[in-house]
Symmetry: C2
Subunit: 234 residues, 2 copies
DNA sequence: ACTATTAATTGTCAATTTTACGCTTATTAT
DNA sequence: ATAATAAGCGTAAAATTGACAATTAATAGT
Protein backbone atom coordinates (compact mmCIF):
# COMPACT_ATOMS: atom_id res chain seq x y z
CA UNK A 1 0.00 0.00 0.00
CA UNK A 2 1.50 3.34 -1.01
CA UNK A 3 -1.51 5.64 -0.97
CA UNK A 4 -4.79 6.02 0.84
CA UNK A 5 -7.46 4.94 -1.62
CA UNK A 6 -10.74 6.63 -2.41
CA UNK A 7 -10.14 9.77 -0.40
CA UNK A 8 -10.68 13.33 -1.48
CA UNK A 9 -7.61 15.47 -1.92
CA UNK A 10 -7.95 19.18 -1.36
CA UNK A 11 -6.08 22.36 -2.01
CA UNK A 12 -4.39 23.71 1.06
CA UNK A 13 -3.48 27.34 1.37
CA UNK A 14 -1.93 29.60 3.94
CA UNK A 15 -3.14 33.10 4.72
CA UNK A 16 -1.02 35.48 6.73
CA UNK A 17 -2.27 38.37 8.74
CA UNK A 18 0.28 41.02 9.65
CA UNK A 19 -0.25 43.33 12.60
CA UNK A 20 1.68 46.51 13.18
CA UNK A 21 1.47 49.48 15.52
CA UNK A 22 2.28 52.98 14.37
CA UNK A 23 2.37 54.59 17.79
CA UNK A 24 -1.30 55.46 17.67
CA UNK A 25 -3.23 52.59 16.24
CA UNK A 26 -3.03 48.90 15.67
CA UNK A 27 -2.83 48.33 11.94
CA UNK A 28 -3.12 45.50 9.53
CA UNK A 29 -1.19 44.97 6.33
CA UNK A 30 -3.17 44.20 3.20
CA UNK A 31 -2.39 43.61 -0.44
CA UNK A 32 -4.44 43.55 -3.57
CA UNK A 33 -4.96 39.98 -4.56
CA UNK A 34 -2.78 39.16 -7.56
CA UNK A 35 -4.86 36.54 -9.35
CA UNK A 36 -8.39 35.54 -10.14
CA UNK A 37 -10.91 35.23 -8.67
CA UNK A 38 -11.29 38.49 -6.80
CA UNK A 39 -8.16 39.84 -8.45
CA UNK A 40 -7.29 43.34 -7.19
CA UNK A 41 -9.52 43.04 -4.15
CA UNK A 42 -7.98 43.66 -0.74
CA UNK A 43 -6.74 40.48 0.82
CA UNK A 44 -4.43 38.91 3.35
CA UNK A 45 -1.12 37.50 2.14
CA UNK A 46 -1.99 34.08 0.82
CA UNK A 47 -0.72 31.21 -1.27
CA UNK A 48 -0.87 27.47 -1.72
CA UNK A 49 1.09 24.98 0.31
CA UNK A 50 3.61 23.14 -1.82
CA UNK A 51 4.18 19.41 -1.82
CA UNK A 52 7.22 19.30 0.39
CA UNK A 53 6.82 22.13 2.81
CA UNK A 54 5.07 22.28 6.15
CA UNK A 55 2.38 24.85 6.81
CA UNK A 56 4.81 26.85 8.93
CA UNK A 57 7.31 26.85 6.09
CA UNK A 58 4.65 27.84 3.61
CA UNK A 59 3.58 30.71 5.81
CA UNK A 60 7.16 31.98 6.08
CA UNK A 61 7.75 31.61 2.38
CA UNK A 62 4.54 33.32 1.34
CA UNK A 63 4.97 36.12 3.84
CA UNK A 64 8.49 36.64 2.57
CA UNK A 65 7.47 36.56 -1.08
CA UNK A 66 4.68 39.05 -0.68
CA UNK A 67 6.22 41.40 1.85
CA UNK A 68 9.92 40.64 2.16
CA UNK A 69 9.42 39.97 5.86
CA UNK A 70 11.70 37.40 7.40
CA UNK A 71 12.34 36.10 10.89
CA UNK A 72 9.34 37.85 12.38
CA UNK A 73 6.93 36.57 15.01
CA UNK A 74 4.58 34.21 13.21
CA UNK A 75 2.01 31.96 14.81
CA UNK A 76 -0.74 29.73 13.56
CA UNK A 77 -4.21 31.03 14.34
CA UNK A 78 -6.41 28.24 13.11
CA UNK A 79 -7.61 26.40 10.08
CA UNK A 80 -10.57 27.61 8.03
CA UNK A 81 -12.15 24.77 6.15
CA UNK A 82 -15.64 25.64 5.09
CA UNK A 83 -16.25 23.77 1.81
CA UNK A 84 -17.50 26.92 0.10
CA UNK A 85 -15.01 29.45 1.31
CA UNK A 86 -13.39 29.68 -2.12
CA UNK A 87 -15.81 29.85 -5.06
CA UNK A 88 -13.40 28.36 -7.58
CA UNK A 89 -12.44 25.22 -5.84
CA UNK A 90 -12.53 23.91 -2.33
CA UNK A 91 -9.47 25.19 -0.49
CA UNK A 92 -8.56 24.75 3.12
CA UNK A 93 -6.76 27.71 4.57
CA UNK A 94 -4.41 27.63 7.51
CA UNK A 95 -4.38 31.12 8.91
CA UNK A 96 -1.28 32.66 10.51
CA UNK A 97 -0.69 35.99 12.12
CA UNK A 98 2.54 37.94 12.32
CA UNK A 99 3.47 40.76 14.66
CA UNK A 100 6.06 43.22 13.43
CA UNK A 101 7.64 46.51 14.29
CA UNK A 102 5.95 48.69 11.72
CA UNK A 103 8.68 51.31 11.47
CA UNK A 104 11.33 48.80 10.68
CA UNK A 105 9.66 47.68 7.49
CA UNK A 106 7.38 50.49 6.47
CA UNK A 107 9.27 51.63 3.41
CA UNK A 108 9.98 48.21 2.02
CA UNK A 109 6.37 47.17 2.48
CA UNK A 110 4.71 50.09 0.79
CA UNK A 111 7.29 50.96 -1.86
CA UNK A 112 8.62 47.62 -2.90
CA UNK A 113 5.71 45.30 -2.28
CA UNK A 114 2.74 47.63 -2.69
CA UNK A 115 1.12 46.41 0.47
CA UNK A 116 -0.78 48.91 2.54
CA UNK A 117 -1.44 49.50 6.22
CA UNK A 118 -4.96 50.04 7.48
CA UNK A 119 -6.10 50.86 10.98
CA UNK A 120 -7.92 47.79 12.19
CA UNK A 121 -11.14 49.72 12.55
CA UNK A 122 -11.08 51.35 9.15
CA UNK A 123 -10.26 48.36 7.09
CA UNK A 124 -11.83 47.69 3.70
CA UNK A 125 -13.83 44.52 3.23
CA UNK A 126 -11.65 41.58 2.27
CA UNK A 127 -11.98 38.62 -0.06
CA UNK A 128 -13.52 35.29 0.93
CA UNK A 129 -13.55 34.70 4.67
CA UNK A 130 -10.56 36.93 5.35
CA UNK A 131 -12.76 39.30 7.35
CA UNK A 132 -13.54 36.46 9.73
CA UNK A 133 -9.86 35.69 10.03
CA UNK A 134 -9.08 39.25 10.99
CA UNK A 135 -11.82 39.37 13.57
CA UNK A 136 -10.68 36.09 15.10
CA UNK A 137 -7.07 37.22 15.10
CA UNK A 138 -7.97 40.43 16.85
CA UNK A 139 -9.87 38.58 19.56
CA UNK A 140 -7.05 36.11 19.85
CA UNK A 141 -4.52 38.87 20.24
CA UNK A 142 -6.56 40.51 22.97
CA UNK A 143 -6.95 37.24 24.68
CA UNK A 144 -3.35 36.22 24.43
CA UNK A 145 -1.98 39.60 25.42
CA UNK A 146 -3.72 39.40 28.78
CA UNK A 147 -1.51 36.48 29.70
CA UNK A 148 1.51 36.68 27.45
CA UNK A 149 3.97 39.49 26.92
CA UNK A 150 3.42 39.24 23.22
CA UNK A 151 2.67 42.84 22.29
CA UNK A 152 6.32 43.76 22.56
CA UNK A 153 6.70 42.16 19.15
CA UNK A 154 4.87 45.16 17.79
CA UNK A 155 7.31 47.66 19.24
CA UNK A 156 10.94 48.49 18.49
CA UNK A 157 13.62 46.85 20.62
CA UNK A 158 13.76 50.04 22.64
CA UNK A 159 10.35 51.42 23.49
CA UNK A 160 8.83 53.74 26.07
CA UNK A 161 6.08 53.17 28.59
CA UNK A 162 3.77 55.72 26.96
CA UNK A 163 4.14 53.81 23.69
CA UNK A 164 3.29 50.55 25.37
CA UNK A 165 0.33 52.15 27.07
CA UNK A 166 -1.02 53.46 23.79
CA UNK A 167 -0.73 50.00 22.29
CA UNK A 168 -2.71 48.39 25.07
CA UNK A 169 -5.30 51.12 24.96
CA UNK A 170 -5.81 50.75 21.26
CA UNK A 171 -5.95 46.97 21.27
CA UNK A 172 -8.55 46.89 24.02
CA UNK A 173 -10.37 50.03 22.96
CA UNK A 174 -10.21 51.56 26.40
CA UNK A 175 -8.21 54.09 28.35
CA UNK A 176 -5.99 53.16 31.24
CA UNK A 177 -4.49 55.08 34.10
CA UNK A 178 -0.87 55.61 33.16
CA UNK A 179 0.34 55.56 36.75
CA UNK A 180 -1.30 52.26 37.56
CA UNK A 181 -0.29 50.86 34.20
CA UNK A 182 3.38 51.66 34.79
CA UNK A 183 3.35 50.13 38.19
CA UNK A 184 1.72 46.98 36.97
CA UNK A 185 3.88 46.49 33.93
CA UNK A 186 7.08 47.22 35.80
CA UNK A 187 6.14 44.85 38.59
CA UNK A 188 6.38 41.97 36.15
CA UNK A 189 10.14 42.40 36.16
CA UNK A 190 10.17 42.00 32.40
CA UNK A 191 11.39 45.46 31.53
CA UNK A 192 14.87 46.89 31.76
CA UNK A 193 15.13 50.65 32.03
CA UNK A 194 17.66 52.21 29.65
CA UNK A 195 19.67 55.31 30.26
CA UNK A 196 18.55 57.22 27.21
CA UNK A 197 15.25 58.82 26.37
CA UNK A 198 12.95 59.10 23.43
CA UNK A 199 12.20 62.79 22.89
CA UNK A 200 9.91 62.54 19.93
CA UNK A 201 6.73 62.57 21.92
CA UNK A 202 7.40 65.24 24.49
CA UNK A 203 9.78 67.87 25.72
CA UNK A 204 10.74 65.94 28.78
CA UNK A 205 11.25 62.74 26.90
CA UNK A 206 10.36 59.25 28.04
CA UNK A 207 12.90 56.69 29.13
CA UNK A 208 13.47 53.76 26.86
CA UNK A 209 12.93 50.23 28.08
CA UNK A 210 13.99 46.90 26.71
CA UNK A 211 12.67 43.45 27.36
CA UNK A 212 14.78 41.72 29.98
CA UNK A 213 15.75 38.58 28.12
CA UNK A 214 17.27 37.00 31.22
CA UNK A 215 14.13 37.25 33.28
CA UNK A 216 11.79 36.76 30.37
CA UNK A 217 11.24 33.08 30.94
CA UNK A 218 11.07 33.39 34.68
CA UNK A 219 8.63 36.27 34.77
CA UNK A 220 6.64 35.30 31.74
CA UNK A 221 3.51 34.72 33.74
CA UNK A 222 2.63 37.42 36.15
CA UNK A 223 -1.02 36.90 36.22
CA UNK A 224 -3.55 35.09 38.22
CA UNK A 225 -6.96 33.71 38.01
CA UNK A 226 -7.67 30.49 39.77
CA UNK A 227 -4.17 29.25 39.65
CA UNK A 228 -1.37 30.85 41.60
CA UNK A 229 0.79 30.50 38.52
CA UNK A 230 -0.37 28.01 35.90
CA UNK A 231 2.81 27.86 33.93
CA UNK A 232 5.37 27.45 36.64
CA UNK A 233 3.81 24.19 37.67
CA UNK A 234 4.97 20.70 36.88
CA UNK B 1 -11.54 29.18 -15.04
CA UNK B 2 -13.07 26.48 -12.88
CA UNK B 3 -10.03 25.18 -11.02
CA UNK B 4 -6.74 26.41 -9.72
CA UNK B 5 -4.13 25.00 -12.05
CA UNK B 6 -0.84 23.33 -11.19
CA UNK B 7 -1.38 23.18 -7.44
CA UNK B 8 -0.81 20.24 -5.19
CA UNK B 9 -3.87 18.69 -3.63
CA UNK B 10 -3.49 17.00 -0.29
CA UNK B 11 -5.35 14.66 1.97
CA UNK B 12 -6.97 16.42 4.89
CA UNK B 13 -7.84 14.57 8.05
CA UNK B 14 -9.30 15.39 11.40
CA UNK B 15 -8.02 14.00 14.70
CA UNK B 16 -10.09 14.27 17.86
CA UNK B 17 -8.76 14.24 21.35
CA UNK B 18 -11.26 13.48 24.10
CA UNK B 19 -10.64 14.56 27.67
CA UNK B 20 -12.50 13.21 30.67
CA UNK B 21 -12.21 13.42 34.44
CA UNK B 22 -12.95 10.47 36.68
CA UNK B 23 -12.95 12.34 39.96
CA UNK B 24 -9.28 11.73 40.51
CA UNK B 25 -7.41 12.22 37.27
CA UNK B 26 -7.71 13.86 33.94
CA UNK B 27 -7.98 11.15 31.34
CA UNK B 28 -7.78 10.80 27.63
CA UNK B 29 -9.76 8.50 25.40
CA UNK B 30 -7.85 6.37 22.91
CA UNK B 31 -8.70 3.73 20.37
CA UNK B 32 -6.69 1.20 18.47
CA UNK B 33 -6.23 2.42 14.95
CA UNK B 34 -8.48 0.46 12.62
CA UNK B 35 -6.48 0.46 9.41
CA UNK B 36 -2.96 0.37 8.04
CA UNK B 37 -0.44 1.75 8.58
CA UNK B 38 0.03 1.40 12.32
CA UNK B 39 -3.10 -0.69 12.55
CA UNK B 40 -3.92 -1.65 16.16
CA UNK B 41 -1.65 0.98 17.60
CA UNK B 42 -3.12 3.44 20.11
CA UNK B 43 -4.38 6.55 18.43
CA UNK B 44 -6.69 9.53 18.63
CA UNK B 45 -10.02 9.36 16.86
CA UNK B 46 -9.24 10.27 13.28
CA UNK B 47 -10.59 10.22 9.75
CA UNK B 48 -10.50 11.99 6.44
CA UNK B 49 -12.45 15.11 5.62
CA UNK B 50 -15.05 14.46 2.94
CA UNK B 51 -15.65 16.59 -0.11
CA UNK B 52 -18.64 18.51 1.15
CA UNK B 53 -18.16 18.86 4.84
CA UNK B 54 -16.35 21.47 6.86
CA UNK B 55 -13.61 20.51 9.29
CA UNK B 56 -16.00 21.09 12.19
CA UNK B 57 -18.55 18.80 10.61
CA UNK B 58 -15.92 16.18 9.93
CA UNK B 59 -14.77 16.32 13.53
CA UNK B 60 -18.32 15.82 14.80
CA UNK B 61 -18.99 13.01 12.38
CA UNK B 62 -15.77 11.16 13.11
CA UNK B 63 -16.12 11.57 16.84
CA UNK B 64 -19.64 10.27 16.62
CA UNK B 65 -18.68 7.33 14.43
CA UNK B 66 -15.86 6.19 16.64
CA UNK B 67 -17.32 6.90 20.07
CA UNK B 68 -21.01 7.62 19.69
CA UNK B 69 -20.47 11.02 21.26
CA UNK B 70 -22.75 13.78 20.10
CA UNK B 71 -23.35 17.38 21.05
CA UNK B 72 -20.31 17.58 23.29
CA UNK B 73 -17.89 20.45 23.69
CA UNK B 74 -15.59 20.33 20.68
CA UNK B 75 -13.04 22.91 19.69
CA UNK B 76 -10.33 23.16 17.08
CA UNK B 77 -6.84 23.03 18.52
CA UNK B 78 -4.70 23.62 15.49
CA UNK B 79 -3.57 22.19 12.22
CA UNK B 80 -0.64 19.80 11.96
CA UNK B 81 0.89 19.87 8.53
CA UNK B 82 4.37 18.47 8.55
CA UNK B 83 4.90 16.85 5.13
CA UNK B 84 6.17 13.63 6.70
CA UNK B 85 3.73 13.20 9.52
CA UNK B 86 2.04 10.29 7.76
CA UNK B 87 4.42 7.77 6.15
CA UNK B 88 1.95 6.57 3.53
CA UNK B 89 0.95 9.82 1.97
CA UNK B 90 1.10 13.43 2.94
CA UNK B 91 -1.91 14.22 5.09
CA UNK B 92 -2.75 17.44 6.83
CA UNK B 93 -4.49 16.94 10.13
CA UNK B 94 -6.78 19.41 11.80
CA UNK B 95 -6.75 18.55 15.47
CA UNK B 96 -9.79 18.98 17.72
CA UNK B 97 -10.32 18.38 21.38
CA UNK B 98 -13.52 17.43 23.16
CA UNK B 99 -14.37 17.73 26.84
CA UNK B 100 -16.93 15.31 28.21
CA UNK B 101 -18.45 14.13 31.44
CA UNK B 102 -16.77 10.77 31.71
CA UNK B 103 -19.44 9.05 33.76
CA UNK B 104 -22.14 9.85 31.32
CA UNK B 105 -20.55 7.88 28.54
CA UNK B 106 -18.23 5.44 30.20
CA UNK B 107 -20.14 2.29 29.42
CA UNK B 108 -20.93 3.11 25.83
CA UNK B 109 -17.35 4.08 25.15
CA UNK B 110 -15.66 1.02 26.55
CA UNK B 111 -18.27 -1.64 25.78
CA UNK B 112 -19.66 -0.56 22.48
CA UNK B 113 -16.79 1.29 20.88
CA UNK B 114 -13.79 -0.40 22.49
CA UNK B 115 -12.15 2.87 23.26
CA UNK B 116 -10.18 3.13 26.45
CA UNK B 117 -9.45 5.81 29.02
CA UNK B 118 -5.90 6.53 30.12
CA UNK B 119 -4.67 8.92 32.77
CA UNK B 120 -2.84 11.65 30.89
CA UNK B 121 0.38 10.83 32.63
CA UNK B 122 0.27 7.10 32.01
CA UNK B 123 -0.64 7.12 28.38
CA UNK B 124 0.87 4.74 25.85
CA UNK B 125 2.81 6.15 22.95
CA UNK B 126 0.56 7.07 20.04
CA UNK B 127 0.80 6.85 16.27
CA UNK B 128 2.32 9.57 14.09
CA UNK B 129 2.39 12.97 15.75
CA UNK B 130 -0.54 12.26 18.04
CA UNK B 131 1.72 12.53 21.08
CA UNK B 132 2.49 16.11 20.11
CA UNK B 133 -1.20 16.81 19.72
CA UNK B 134 -1.92 15.56 23.21
CA UNK B 135 0.86 17.61 24.72
CA UNK B 136 -0.29 20.73 22.95
CA UNK B 137 -3.90 20.11 23.94
CA UNK B 138 -2.94 19.70 27.57
CA UNK B 139 -1.02 22.96 27.56
CA UNK B 140 -3.87 24.63 25.77
CA UNK B 141 -6.37 23.37 28.30
CA UNK B 142 -4.27 24.66 31.17
CA UNK B 143 -3.91 27.92 29.46
CA UNK B 144 -7.54 28.32 28.57
CA UNK B 145 -8.82 27.20 31.94
CA UNK B 146 -7.05 30.05 33.66
CA UNK B 147 -9.30 32.49 31.87
CA UNK B 148 -12.36 30.54 30.83
CA UNK B 149 -14.78 28.49 32.87
CA UNK B 150 -14.27 25.58 30.54
CA UNK B 151 -13.47 22.76 32.92
CA UNK B 152 -17.10 22.46 33.92
CA UNK B 153 -17.54 20.59 30.66
CA UNK B 154 -15.66 17.73 32.29
CA UNK B 155 -18.03 17.48 35.24
CA UNK B 156 -21.64 16.37 35.60
CA UNK B 157 -24.34 19.05 35.56
CA UNK B 158 -24.37 18.85 39.33
CA UNK B 159 -20.92 18.77 40.86
CA UNK B 160 -19.31 19.56 44.19
CA UNK B 161 -16.56 21.98 45.10
CA UNK B 162 -14.21 19.18 46.19
CA UNK B 163 -14.69 17.59 42.76
CA UNK B 164 -13.88 20.84 41.02
CA UNK B 165 -10.87 21.33 43.23
CA UNK B 166 -9.52 17.91 42.38
CA UNK B 167 -9.91 18.64 38.70
CA UNK B 168 -7.94 21.87 38.92
CA UNK B 169 -5.30 20.22 41.04
CA UNK B 170 -4.84 17.39 38.61
CA UNK B 171 -4.77 19.57 35.51
CA UNK B 172 -2.14 21.87 36.96
CA UNK B 173 -0.27 19.21 38.88
CA UNK B 174 -0.37 21.16 42.10
CA UNK B 175 -2.28 21.30 45.36
CA UNK B 176 -4.49 24.19 46.29
CA UNK B 177 -5.92 25.43 49.54
CA UNK B 178 -9.55 24.33 49.53
CA UNK B 179 -10.74 27.32 51.55
CA UNK B 180 -9.17 29.86 49.27
CA UNK B 181 -10.24 27.92 46.23
CA UNK B 182 -13.87 27.89 47.33
CA UNK B 183 -13.87 31.58 48.03
CA UNK B 184 -12.31 32.42 44.72
CA UNK B 185 -14.48 30.20 42.62
CA UNK B 186 -17.67 31.29 44.38
CA UNK B 187 -16.73 34.94 44.02
CA UNK B 188 -17.07 34.59 40.26
CA UNK B 189 -20.80 34.32 40.72
CA UNK B 190 -20.88 31.48 38.24
CA UNK B 191 -22.02 28.77 40.61
CA UNK B 192 -25.45 28.11 42.02
CA UNK B 193 -25.61 26.17 45.26
CA UNK B 194 -28.10 23.32 45.25
CA UNK B 195 -30.04 22.02 48.21
CA UNK B 196 -28.87 18.45 48.00
CA UNK B 197 -25.56 16.87 48.76
CA UNK B 198 -23.29 14.32 47.24
CA UNK B 199 -22.44 11.79 49.93
CA UNK B 200 -20.17 9.53 47.95
CA UNK B 201 -16.96 11.20 49.00
CA UNK B 202 -17.50 11.77 52.67
CA UNK B 203 -19.75 11.25 55.62
CA UNK B 204 -20.76 14.83 55.83
CA UNK B 205 -21.42 15.10 52.15
CA UNK B 206 -20.63 18.02 49.88
CA UNK B 207 -23.24 20.36 48.49
CA UNK B 208 -23.92 20.17 44.80
CA UNK B 209 -23.46 23.20 42.60
CA UNK B 210 -24.63 23.99 39.10
CA UNK B 211 -23.39 26.49 36.62
CA UNK B 212 -25.51 29.62 36.73
CA UNK B 213 -26.54 29.92 33.13
CA UNK B 214 -28.07 33.34 33.65
CA UNK B 215 -24.91 34.92 34.93
CA UNK B 216 -22.62 32.84 32.81
CA UNK B 217 -22.11 35.42 30.12
CA UNK B 218 -21.89 38.30 32.53
CA UNK B 219 -19.41 36.72 34.88
CA UNK B 220 -17.45 34.84 32.30
CA UNK B 221 -14.34 36.83 32.90
CA UNK B 222 -13.40 37.26 36.48
CA UNK B 223 -9.74 37.62 36.03
CA UNK B 224 -7.24 40.29 35.56
CA UNK B 225 -3.81 40.86 34.28
CA UNK B 226 -3.00 44.10 32.64
CA UNK B 227 -6.51 44.80 31.56
CA UNK B 228 -9.29 45.55 33.99
CA UNK B 229 -11.48 43.21 31.97
CA UNK B 230 -10.35 42.42 28.44
CA UNK B 231 -13.56 40.90 27.23
CA UNK B 232 -16.08 43.44 28.40
CA UNK B 233 -14.51 46.09 26.25
CA UNK B 234 -15.71 47.40 22.95
C1' DA C 1 17.32 84.21 31.09
C1' DC C 2 12.96 83.83 32.70
C1' DT C 3 8.34 81.76 32.23
C1' DA C 4 4.67 79.05 30.46
C1' DT C 5 3.72 74.69 28.64
C1' DT C 6 3.65 69.88 28.07
C1' DA C 7 4.11 65.28 29.04
C1' DA C 8 6.72 61.93 32.05
C1' DT C 9 7.35 60.26 36.42
C1' DT C 10 6.88 59.59 41.26
C1' DG C 11 3.89 59.26 45.24
C1' DT C 12 -0.16 58.46 48.46
C1' DC C 13 -3.86 56.18 50.69
C1' DA C 14 -8.14 53.75 51.12
C1' DA C 15 -10.33 49.73 49.39
C1' DT C 16 -10.04 45.33 47.86
C1' DT C 17 -8.05 40.85 47.21
C1' DT C 18 -4.97 37.24 48.39
C1' DT C 19 -2.56 34.21 51.41
C1' DA C 20 -1.95 31.33 55.16
C1' DC C 21 -3.77 29.55 58.46
C1' DG C 22 -7.32 27.44 62.52
C1' DC C 23 -11.71 26.10 63.96
C1' DT C 24 -16.42 24.28 63.71
C1' DT C 25 -19.86 21.27 61.70
C1' DA C 26 -22.32 17.41 59.73
C1' DT C 27 -22.38 12.72 59.17
C1' DT C 28 -21.32 7.85 59.71
C1' DA C 29 -19.05 3.76 61.63
C1' DT C 30 -17.63 1.66 65.82
C1' DA D 1 -21.94 7.92 72.95
C1' DT D 2 -17.89 8.87 70.57
C1' DA D 3 -14.16 8.73 67.36
C1' DA D 4 -13.09 9.72 62.72
C1' DT D 5 -13.40 12.21 58.47
C1' DA D 6 -13.93 15.56 55.21
C1' DA D 7 -16.77 19.82 54.35
C1' DG D 8 -17.30 24.39 55.13
C1' DC D 9 -16.71 28.85 57.73
C1' DG D 10 -13.75 32.47 59.68
C1' DT D 11 -9.93 35.66 60.32
C1' DA D 12 -5.92 38.59 60.39
C1' DA D 13 -1.69 40.04 58.02
C1' DA D 14 0.19 40.98 53.58
C1' DA D 15 -0.09 42.28 48.98
C1' DT D 16 -2.31 44.39 45.20
C1' DT D 17 -5.39 47.57 43.01
C1' DG D 18 -7.83 51.82 42.04
C1' DA D 19 -8.37 56.53 42.22
C1' DC D 20 -6.24 60.28 42.64
C1' DA D 21 -2.38 64.63 43.31
C1' DA D 22 2.08 66.48 43.05
C1' DT D 23 6.67 66.93 41.15
C1' DT D 24 10.01 66.90 37.51
C1' DA D 25 12.49 67.53 33.10
C1' DA D 26 12.79 69.65 28.95
C1' DT D 27 11.43 72.96 25.46
C1' DA D 28 9.59 77.06 23.22
C1' DG D 29 8.19 81.60 23.40
C1' DT D 30 8.77 86.07 25.28
Amino acid sequence: MTKYQHQTRLLAAVDCLVFGFDGQHLKILLIKRGFEPMKNQWSLMGGFIQQNESADEAASRILNNLTGLQGVYLEQLRCFADPNRDPIERTISICYFALIDINRYEKQLTDEFHSEWFPLNEMPSLVFDHNDMVELARQNLRYKATLHPILFELLPTKFTLPQLLMLFEDLYGTSLDKRNFSRKILSTGLLLKQKDKNKEGSKKGAFYYKLDKKHYQKNFHKFSYLMPNPNNLL
